[in-house]
């Protein structure tokens, strides 16, 4: 499953983060690394996008499109 497909309120564990190099490093640096837990806490009005995700102790907002580069398992 992908992070971008997760429902608001659900939690999962990151398996792999891929994507274009610049984006991938960015995501990794924000803490979206293999093994970290993620929890989708909020979504913006109008199309439920972007989402706000708790990862490695902080709350990070990103668009579902980019979140789809992050593979998770619940």
């Amino acid at each position: 499953m992908k992070l971008g497909e997760m429902k608001c309120g659900s939690a999962a564990k990151i398996i792999r983060t891929s994507g274009p190099e610049a984006l991938q490093t960015r995501l990794l640096e924000m803490g979206f690394v293999e093994g970290s837990l993620v929890e989708v806490l909020f979504e913006a009005p109008w199309g439920s996008d972007p989402i706000a995700v708790r990862v490695r102790g902080s709350l990070v907002a990103l668009r579902r499109n980019e979140a789809n580069w992050i593979e998770v398992e619940s």
């Binding site: 640096e29 690394v33 913006a44 708790r54 902080s58």
Partner: protein
């Protein structure tokens, strides 16, 4: 004096710590060649000595991608030309968020420079239950760890003392951290190392911030969150538009009073004209913006410091993103309805350079309050005061449509710029929503002082000198003794007005309008008094003057000319102060000139169309 650099993630309280260390004795400038702000200060400890402290931009890593990250990277590696490499580093980490912020600290060890770690917001972390074995953490990292609470100065002395030790030749080597070698360069390995370190040093995990999450359940709620955002926006707008009016009037009154007093003292003559109409009016023209700038930045700083700004950007991402603007662009654009100057200055919160430039370039298209006197004059003169629909007046409708047209144009221009000039990958949204906190008044006041000071120093000098030039152009040469026309006709402005008549004639303006453009360039509302001068209209007060000027224009101009000038004012960059601020904020005249050219071209085009269409419809 030796230099230490503060480095850390955004939102870790690094700037608050910098303020605590230096006590507000700071120099703010720009790094050579870029628009990234450079902050340096001096920290001293009684009898022990002083150090210079550099507050680096907050970043999540050392890989240089944004201008901020590039500066941090280049300064730390000593690669930025004209910038000295710091001799030692104070790494700053958010104690409530060690899992993420220690990753950057590990990355910093590859510099092989003396380093200490400031664990900031320690009070909040302990309140949320963190139990940390500091000795174990120091052992694992191989660096001294100092718990700090930047907002009330806790840990300040300890930090300065350790920094002094780091810089002394004797102790220097003891501050070189563990060699994590290859680990430091790979992000996966870094976080793995962080997990190991935390396992060894944390006795009790920090709990999630219940309060912050509770607030977010309202603030980020699809319905309530939108409502909160609307209220915040309305409040900001109200402050910049309405609350600033009274102090602005005081300043205007004060400047006018000063002008009169000095005028009486100097007696009629060249000197009086220079001092009163040139210098005092010029200084007044700078100071008059301060209430709006201070009020807007009070809100911007409070919203940033409290953590709400990032939430607002999150909520607005969809809307602003549809024209290619960043979610954070809405505060600058909203405040530009009052005045583009604080608006342009507020674009600093947008990190991406292309997004920021686009926002700066379209901000002056928003209908600022200085256009209102011109709009009122022309609408009263050329739009019949009749009710069209359900008591809605035609004049009001025209005014509303001017506003709507300006917004639509600004969004369209932003859309075009993002697809041409600032083409490139759509910037990604990856935004930390920091834990809410109560803003520190000290930081906010320091920030306000800094903004106001920068405006006066940088933009103020340009505004003042151009005002004096415009005064000169409008006053010299003097009218001959037997002059039949208003004095301004004989001046350089008069000559320029006549000279540009062929250029502006196709859009319905004659040389009189051309003349009024010159002093009117000082600020849009000056156009009204400039036109009054050219048409030699005088009334007993401002209102009476505008009234009789309106009558005069209605008699002298065709409907087409009136509408054309109205159209001109929607788009034309008739404001040198804005251009001066754009120059200051983009660090080059290039973008200011580009703005001047593109806005003038658009205005000319619109005026041309309006003029010709009105004539074709019989309004000539």
């Amino acid at each position: 004096m030796s230099l230490v650099a503060l480095a850390g993630n955004p939102n870790c309280g690094k700037t608050a710590l910098f303020n605590a260390m230096t006590g507000g004795r700071q120099k703010v400038g720009n790094y050579p060649g870029v628009t990234v702000e450079r902050k340096e200060g001096v920290a001293n400890l009684d009898n022990r000595g002083s150090i210079r402290v550099l507050d680096l931009p907050g970043t999540y890593s050392l890989s240089p991608r944004t201008p901020d990250e590039e500066v941090t990277h280049d300064v730390l590696f000593g690669k930025l030309a004209g910038e000295e490499a710091p001799q030692a580093i104070v790494a700053v980490a958010d104690a409530t968020n060690l899992e993420r912020s220690l990753g950057f600290v590990i990355e910093l060890t590859q510099l092989k420079k003396p380093i200490v770690l400031a664990l900031n917001m320690m009070d909040l972390a302990e309140k949320r239950g963190l139990k940390l074995d500091l000795k174990a953490l120091e052992r694992e990292l191989g660096m001294k760890v100092i718990p700090t609470v930047a907002v009330d100065g806790q840990g300040r002395e300890d930090l300065i003392e350790r920094s002094l030790e780091m810089l002394s030749q004797v102790d220097r080597s003891t501050f070189i951290p563990h060699d994590f070698s290859e680990e430091a360069k790979d992000v996966h390995a870094r976080f793995k190392r962080v997990d190991t370190i935390l396992k060894a040093s944390i006795q009790k995990q920090v709990a999630r911030s219940v309060i912050s999450e509770k607030i977010d359940h309202i603030v980020l709620h699809p319905f309530w969150g939108s409502l909160v955002l609307l209220v915040v926006l309305a409040l900001v707008f109200q402050a910049v538009f309405t609350w600033s009016a009274t102090p602005t009037e005081w300043i205007e009154g004060g400047v006018a009073w000063l002008g009169t007093q000095v005028g009486l003292f100097l007696g009629d003559g060249v000197l009086k004209s220079l001092v009163v109409d040139g210098i005092i009016a010029g200084v007044g023209g700078v100071v008059v913006f301060l209430p709006q700038i201070i009020l807007l930045f009070l809100f911007v700083l409070l919203l940033e410091d409290s953590g709400y700004m990032a939430r607002a950007a999150f909520l607005m991402d969809r809307v602003m993103g549809s024209v290619g603007l960043h979610g954070r662009a809405f505060i600058p654009l909203l405040s530009s309805f009052a005045c583009a100057i604080p608006g342009v200055m507020a674009t600093r919160t947008i990190e991406n350079r292309r997004d920021r430039l686009t926002t700066i370039l379209v901000a002056p298209l928003m209908t600022c309050s200085a256009r209102l006197p011109v709009y009122s004059l022309l609408i009263a003169a050329f739009i019949p005061n009749k009710s069209v629909f359900l008591g809605l007046g035609l004049q009001g409708l025209v005014l509303l449509s001017l506003y709507v047209f300006a917004v639509v144009t600004a969004l369209a221009v932003a859309y075009v710029f993002k697809r041409t000039l600032f083409k490139g990958e759509k910037p990604i949204l990856l935004l930390e929503l920091p834990t809410y906190k109560i803003p520190s008044w000290k930081s906010v006041l320091l920030g306000l002082r800094e903004r106001a000071g920068l405006f006066i120093k940088r933009a103020g000098t340009v505004i003042l000198s151009i005002t004096v030039i415009l005064w000169f152009l409008s006053s010299y040469p003097k009218a001959p003794v037997n002059a039949t026309q208003p004095a301004i006709d004989y001046s350089y402005a008069g000559k320029i007005g006549h000279a540009i008549e062929p250029l502006i004639q196709p859009i319905g303006f004659d040389w009189r309008v051309g003349i009024a453009f010159i002093p009117g360039f000082a600020a849009r509302e000056v156009m009204v008094s400039a036109l009054a001068t050219v048409y030699a209209v005088e009334g007993k007060d401002e209102e009476a003057t505008a009234q009789s000027l309106g009558d005069t224009l209605a008699k002298n101009w065709s409907l087409a000319t009136g509408l054309s000038l109205l159209a001109w004012y929607i788009l034309a960059p008739q404001c040198l102060s804005t251009l001066a601020v754009v120059r200051r904020e983009t660090n080059s005249w290039k973008w200011a000139l580009f703005m001047l050219v593109y806005m003038t071209a658009l205005a000319y085009l619109l005026s041309f169309v309006v003029y010709r269409v009105t004539i074709a419809l019989g309004g000539g």
